[in-house]
């Protein structure tokens, strides 16, 4: 087929978002390792406020989620939406604004957290001025994304775009409602919601930020980059439709499992538990669909680093989306709630799923964006094994710590007295916490190896210009993306 050019893609901003995302990944993970070490040697904050655990831990979560995660999602959304629509971005200038303004916002947010600006809600700690910046940039992100879809040359909207679209829409809704507050000063506000009601709103936000950002957003990444790299169409188109709507409908209901046995109505807890278990179906439907897609090209798994990372990420996605519903069962939650098991669960998602699929996608993107070959396959291999080992060790350490805490806290003697004091249980966690530091260091060193590899790959090069192909037929589009 003769390819008629209709302009070029806006790819330079994608290159920059990859680089920014990588910088945040190192900063965020380094902060994570540091706070993990503070739980072993508490004096290494040296009496400095900004190094204090309560502030630095918040910086860690914000840097990895909003810096590393969201920047990667923005960049990959801009990359894939152009290619699935066969047009250049709607307003590349606004897209540039999104990428650059987002970096400043995350940076400002990080500094404000270190300075002690903290709204006190988990994963929504940033204070009202930064919340407003986030909302403005998010709306611009939506305008660029849906504007590009509106001017597409391909009739159907490809499935990855539904997930990126859900990310944009649902996160906007959650962020705006949960951040509603009355400002007192530039650095202090009071939530519009109080007590139990605030708890329900916060975990509606908190759970679904995980749902639509860390799960849905990255599923958008999966649905574009996995078929692309495997060079196979999605195994079942119909399954991807069913899974998308089931996911979008049922995820929202599951938030109250963060408040089991807390002072919210029983019916809300029970509903949250039931819907969490139902959620397993759409989560695994997507996994099955993705695994079957790869199974069409198994030989690639031997040699292709990008695909290896994405498939490993898929395995951890399956693990985390199974573990989540199990932990949402009230009787399991009685043991797991408030313990390090929760932290382990979060990291099987965050390290195993989010970080690994992002790394896999970056191994795909970086050589292509700069029209070259990866500097070293051997280094990519080393990174792969460091990433697996770090993630596994982290999860095992936190399972050990969390299950012990949960059982020891609830343990009663023959006379109905507590078997163990809180302090002795806490002190017995030290070996697990040391293991966690090691796990974090292993994972972080893998990421450093990757960044060196990328640095050597792109040093002295510029983002390549890619021509937009002429519109193809709709049926062909389904297959080739």
């Amino acid at each position: 087929m003769k390819i008629l050019s209709s302009g070029t893609y806006s790819d330079r901003l994608v290159s920059y978002s990859v680089i920014f995302s990588l910088i945040w990944s190192i900063l965020g993970m380094a902060a994570g390792v540091y706070v993990a070490l503070e739980l072993v040697i508490p004096t290494i904050d040296f009496g400095q406020e900004w190094l204090s655990y309560g502030r630095l831990r918040t910086l860690h979560t914000n840097a990895v989620i909003f810096g590393f995660g969201v920047t990667a999602l923005m960049g990959t959304a801009f990359y894939s939406v152009q290619r699935t629509c066969h047009v250049e971005l709607f307003s590349p200038r606004l897209a540039w604004f999104c990428i650059i303004a987002w970096q400043f916002t995350v940076l400002l947010g990080g500094l404000s957290l270190l300075a002690g600006w903290n709204a006190g809600k988990e994963y929504a700690e940033l204070e009202w001025p930064i919340d407003i910046l986030i909302a403005v940039i998010w709306v611009c992100f939506g305008i660029v994304f849906f504007g590009t879809i509106a001017k597409r040359k391909v009739k159907p909207i490809y499935v990855s775009n539904w997930f990126y679209g859900a990310l944009i829409i649902v996160i906007a809704m959650l962020h705006i409602v949960n951040s509603l507050a009355i400002p007192v000063t530039i650095s202090k506000s009071y939530s519009l919601f109080a007590g139990a009601q605030d708890a329900v709103v916060q975990w509606w936000y908190g759970h679904n930020a995980v749902g639509f950002l860390l799960t849905g957003g990255f599923l958008g990444m999966l649905y574009y980059f996995l078929p692309k790299q495997a060079d196979r169409p999605i195994w079942s188109y119909r399954l991807s439709i069913i899974a998308f709507w089931a996911f979008t409908y049922s995820y929202i209901w599951a938030g109250p499992h963060h408040l089991h046995y807390n002072a919210i109505p029983d019916w809300v807890q029970t509903l949250g538990m039931v819907m969490s278990i139902i959620l397993l179906a759409p989560s695994w439907a997507t996994m099955v669909n993705a695994v079957m897609t790869v199974s069409g090209a198994p030989q690639k798994l031997k040699t292709d680093h990008s695909l290896k990372f994405i498939v490993l990420a898929l395995a951890f996605y399956g693990l985390a989306t199974f573990e989540g519903p199990m932990m949402a069962i009230k009787s399991v939650n009685a043991v797991s709630h408030f313990t390090d098991w929760t932290i382990g669960h979060v990291h099987s998602g965050a390290l195993g799923w989010n970080a690994l699929i992002t790394f896999g996608t970056f191994y795909f993107l970086v050589p292509r964006l700069f029209n070259t070959q990866l500097y070293s396959k051997r280094l990519a291999d080393i990174h792969f094994w460091l990433a697996i080992s770090g993630t596994m060790l982290y999860i095992l350490a936190m399972w050990g710590a969390g299950i012990s805490q949960g059982l020891l806290w609830l343990s009663l003697g023959d006379l109905g007295e507590l078997s163990y004091g809180f302090r002795e249980i806490m002190a017995s966690m030290q070996p697990y916490y040391i293991l966690r530091v090691i796990a974090g260091l292993v994972f972080l060193s893998g990421a450093v190896v990757m960044i060196y590899n990328f640095f050597r790959t792109i040093a002295g090069r510029k983002t390549a210009t890619v021509q937009i192909p002429a519109p193809s037929t709709a049926s062909e589009q389904q297959v080739t993306v």
Binding site: E38, P42, T43, D45, G47, S52, Y53, G54, R57, T58, G116, W117, N118, A119, G120, E125, K155, P156, I157, G165, A166, I169, V170, I182, P183, T185, K188, Y190, F193, A194, G195, A196, Q197, A199, V200, W204, I241, T248, Y249, S250, Y251, I252, W253, G255, L259, H260, N262, A263, I264, P265, G272, F338, T339, Q405, W409, S411, G416, L418, R423, M426
Partner: protein, 211 residues
């Protein structure tokens, strides 16, 4: 027209897709959150009162330092937990909590009933140097709390006024004298005042199960 054909329509129309996502994702939240806003208004328990000026400043320092990343304030109605921490939490105890501080992690113990379990002096030493009183503690030390005035920015009355606007029953006189009430207090004084205020409400019939 089967379901796939109907979906094809949706899939070729960006506006419909946006609307579909918004509609489908909004249902769960509406069902769970709206009743708590319009129907089940939680009444404060008999002993629950708005925080005093000092306690409020202390609570805001607790938030600033991220104390709730490691300390929950929510006793669950489980036998061992009730033995360890006293009565389970009641929603009415949190009506003046903006934001709520129930927490999601107990690296350190639950604090919702810590008030008056230790002396002011113990709390002060513990915050400045936790390992002086709990040798194996992994809590950070907070030496700067002692060096700073709690109301250094002279905004305590603004804080209370904002909360009054949100329905907290502060009188205008209370707000007017707030700055005087906390004059000379350090941040350490304020956070100790807050911690000592975290007590069980004895007026609540605990057999009701907390909600």
């Amino acid at each position: 027209m089967n379901a796939i054909d109907i979906h094809r329509k949706l899939e070729e129309n960006a506006g419909l897709l946006i609307f579909g996502i918004l509609f489908v994702s909004a249902i769960g939240g509406l069902v769970q959150i709206l009743p708590s806003i319009f129907q089940e208004t939680v009444e404060p328990t008999a002993d629950t009162r708005p925080y005093t000026a000092a306690e409020l400043l202390g609570r805001d320092i607790y938030i600033r330092e991220g104390c709730s990343t490691c300390h929950s304030q929510q006793v669950r109605p489980l036998l061992a937990e009730v033995i360890r921490y006293e009565a389970p939490a009641h929603a009415g105890e949190s009506v003046y909590d903006r934001p709520f501080l129930w927490g999601s992690k107990r690296t350190g113990p639950d604090l919702s009933r810590v008030g008056e379990k230790y002396t002011d002096e113990w709390q002060r030493i513990h915050l400045i140097d936790p390992r002086a009183v709990v040798p194996k503690s992994i809590m950070p030390a907070y030496p700067w709390l002692e060096r700073r005035k709690a109301n250094a920015r002279n905004d305590v009355h603004l804080r209370m006024k904002a909360l009054q606007r949100l329905g907290h029953p502060y009188s205008d006189e209370e707000i007017a004298r707030a700055a005087d009430d906390v004059a000379g207090m350090t941040e350490l004084d304020a956070i100790v005042a807050y911690l000592q205020s975290l007590k069980i409400d004895t007026s609540v019939d605990q057999s009701e199960g907390g909600h």
